[in-house]
């Protein structure tokens, strides 16, 4: 739990830095969408994403391997499409609504966060019973 809390604190610090200097909310789905679609200056968003990937590269070097377990391709790809679609329709993901929105005490973000946790839980419950071969292991 110490690692969870301290990792979370780093995320909160990063979101504060990005807001204070760059004036942007550190919602990753929104940053990604802006980096893909924005026609004007998108350097802030692209660099934020580069930083995220760099953290992954460093982690791989430090621990000498990717770490994560294997997953079936179908739920992975289907899940990716739904995550992309849903976060843009709903205007945020775990970071945008779940961290930045809740830290601003926004009711809209609380409703979104409770909704995606509920539907995520229902999905995990259903997959374990209907399609256990799709379970993340």
């Amino acid at each position: 739990m110490f690692r969870a809390l301290s990792g979370g604190a780093l995320i909160g610090g990063a979101a504060t830095l990005f807001w204070f200097v760059n004036g942007r909310v550190a919602g990753v789905s929104g940053v990604l969408s802006g980096a893909l679609r924005e026609r004007g200056d998108r350097s802030d968003r692209v660099l934020f994403l580069v930083g995220l990937v760099a953290a992954g590269v460093v982690a791989t070097l430090v621990r000498g391997g990717a770490g994560a377990g294997g997953q079936s391709t179908l739920p992975l790809v289907l899940g990716g499409a739904l995550v992309g679609f849903g976060t843009r329709l709903g205007g945020g993901c775990t970071s945008g609504h779940g961290v930045c929105g809740l830290a601003r005490l926004r009711k809209r973000s609380l409703v979104a966060t409770l909704t995606f946790i509920a539907f995520g839980a229902l999905t995990v419950f259903a997959v374990a019973r209907v399609a256990p071969m799709w379970s993340v292991r």
Binding site: G13, Q71, T87
Partner: protein, 147 residues
């Protein structure tokens, strides 16, 4: 230059936080969502740490006169918000990745991370289009109000 360094640093710090806390491992995410099974509270701890620090920092900035609230063109709770969050939740439960950890996982160089990312980019573009179409339809069906 200051802005560029801050953006890069914020991304890197955010990514390290996700790795350190175990959020880039889909098993921790699915474990958190598995309320009827062997529940894994890690994600809740990450949320508490992140929200606590960000909330306190925004409060402090606000007390010193800096802007705290983000501009939001759509501050209301509507069907778009609920449907989007529900669809995102289903995808999150299926794959165990949300956008932040998915971008960090690209740096792991695994084929599963890239497969998820490609599908997510397609979903993001389709989702923005659907959101725009829906807003246009709602605007068209709402009678003009005198201001």
């Amino acid at each position: 230059m200051r802005r560029a360094l801050a953006a890069l640093g914020a991304g890197a710090l955010f990514g390290v936080g996700l790795v350190v806390s175990g959020m880039t491992d889909p098993r921790n995410v699915v474990g958190f969502l598995d309320f009827t099974g062997k529940w894994n509270p890690t994600l809740a701890g990450v949320m508490v740490g992140a929200i606590g620090v960000h909330f306190a920092a925004l409060r402090w900035l606000g007390s010193r006169g800096y802007p705290v609230l983000s501009a939001d063109a759509r501050p209301w709770i509507d069907g778009r918000l609920l449907a989007g969050a529900a669809i995102f939740g289903v995808g999150w439960g299926l794959a165990g990745y949300c956008p932040g950890p998915a971008v960090v996982a690209l740096g792991f160089g695994t084929s599963s991370a890239w497969a998820f990312m490609l599908a997510m980019v397609v979903g993001v573009l389709a989702g923005e289009r659907a959101a725009r179409d829906r807003d246009a339809a709602v605007t068209a069906s709402t009678p003009a109000r005198a201001v």
